[in-house]
Amino acid sequence: SKMKLILIFSALFGVSLGLETFVGHQVLRIKTRNEDEVKKLQLLESLEHLELDFWINPSSPALPVDVRIPANSVQAVKAFLESHGIWYSILVEDLQVVLDKEKQDMACSQQRERSSNSFNYGTYHTLDDIYAELDHLASEYSNIVSKLQIGESYEKRPLYVLKFSTGGSNRPAIWIDAGIHSREWVTQASAIWIAKKIASDYGADPSITSLLNKMDIFLLTVSNPDGYVFTHTTNRMWRKTRSKNQGSLCVGVDPNRNWDAGFGGPGASSNPCSDSYRGPSASSEVEVKSVVNFIKNHGNIQAFLTLHSYSQLLMYPYGYKCTEPADYAELNALGKAAASSIRSLYGTTFTVGSICTTIYQASGGSIDWSYDNGIKYSFAFELRDTGRYGFLLPATQIIPTAEETWLGLKTIMEHVRDNSY
């Protein structure tokens, strides 16, 4: 019947497509120096029997020419180029090898995702997905990781902190937080990567192992969950909390102007519509109050490290005043050492200094509060980049950013471990 014939033909067609292979095909990148060389390549392009597949066609000496060459034309094309002194390099030695590997990788990652709920650290996630991963880490590394709730946001979302501990009772601890400003997406993304790193490095990396044998680490991956959800659903550029302001249509308080450190001073706005609105009073925001309470109740926090983006800065107090902190020398030296560690990985440069001298005077900031409350090692990081993408940092930069930031954090934590006070 006709249907059967159609089926047979389409099956044969499908099979013949599947049989196309790229064994021995090479991809060359050709760099022409002048119009004459471009014309020669265009001549080559016209020779249909060579079956050349130009990924970038010859058009101008300013642009490279990429071309896929079937196995049996490779020698002829190279001879042609060489005889005319045209420069080329081999981008791909054997295209089929690349394709086979790609297929294998895709099958592998699909299988991994199906079998173990694998979290992709190199992409941006919703709050729900991040929260699910916190649970996953706490269960997979239950010997050292536990999840605590330290409070609730304005819109009643839980504030979850991961505790990394090998035991003891109220050991000296390091506090790390991210995402207090919700639009700074690379910070929440880096924090969850860092969580995984700490958990998996215990027992494998001598430095982290010795650190966790003496101290605990507390990590708040999403300090401002209401804001974070809002950046996903409504306004990617939202910075503040989502609390209602009495007598105003404008929503939200800048949580990093709301701490009890020089509160009400310069560098924070009294206008609820402003992105740096300090709030009606210090710690008015539940997101801030919850952290304040946790830290005060713990009583043994030795370092307070907070992640922001962007600008590539590593800063210590003060922001609310432009005078040096008492520990200026030590903090500056430690900051420089941390910046050096960060730079060692991908060459990313961070500027080190106090908040006031490095960016601007800003009152009510978290590290000023922590420092004035006895936590000597108080640092604020501004992660990548310096403005090209700003808040909209491409996901491909998440893991490199997390990796280099981790080296900076580690330098500081190692110093804290070795200099308890």
Partner: protein
């Protein structure tokens, strides 16, 4: 500090090609901020060397836009995750150049602006050889941390420099 006039800064900087990190050129500049901050700062500069020739890429982009059947319209460049499609990259770069002018005209010693995002861009049909784009951009001002919507009309042709023929600050949403 120049009495009765304003503050003058002498700068030595290195310009780096955004598309080719290894391509750099030295630059010196003088910036004069006027007292009162209600006129844009004066800028004088000198470049020691040549900027890379982008003629080929310019022409490819120009011809591509000229040959579109319908006027180009796009939103959110980059998107929330920082993605810019290859076709939109020149539109993004054009906005970046044009926003430089807007930033210059609105800068004081207490501002630091960056282009945060193109919210919307619409090509405006023209009878002459120029390309015209109506952009709504978001500028991020570092000191106040505000995100400021700004409209700008941009004119461009490969053989002419970028022009911002009209621009205006837009009201912020609540």
């Amino acid at each position: 500090d120049i009495d009765g006039v304003g503050q003058k800064y002498h700068l030595e900087l290195v310009l780096e090609d955004v598309l080719d990190k290894d391509s750099t050129v030295n630059c010196t500049a003088e910036v004069l901020y006027h007292l009162g901050n209600n006129i844009p700062p004066d800028v004088q500069f000198a470049i020691a060397g040549e900027l890379k020739n982008a003629e080929a890429a310019d022409n490819i982009f120009y011809n591509r836009i000229k040959s579109l059947e319908k006027e180009l319209v796009a939103e959110n460049i980059p998107d929330s995750r920082g993605n810019v499609s290859p076709e939109m990259e020149p539109v993004h770069l054009l906005a970046w150049v044009a926003s430089g002018y807007v930033i210059w005209q609105n800068s004081t010693e207490n501002t630091k602006f960056q282009l945060a995002q193109i919210k919307r861009v619409k090509q405006v049909k023209r009878r002459d050889e120029y390309l015209e784009f109506d952009y709504t951009i978001l500028l991020h001002e570092m000191v106040s941390q505000e995100i400021i919507p700004w409209q700008m009309t941009v004119l461009w042709h490969p053989q002419h420099s970028v022009q911002v023929t009209q621009d205006s600050r837009q009201p912020k949403h609540a």
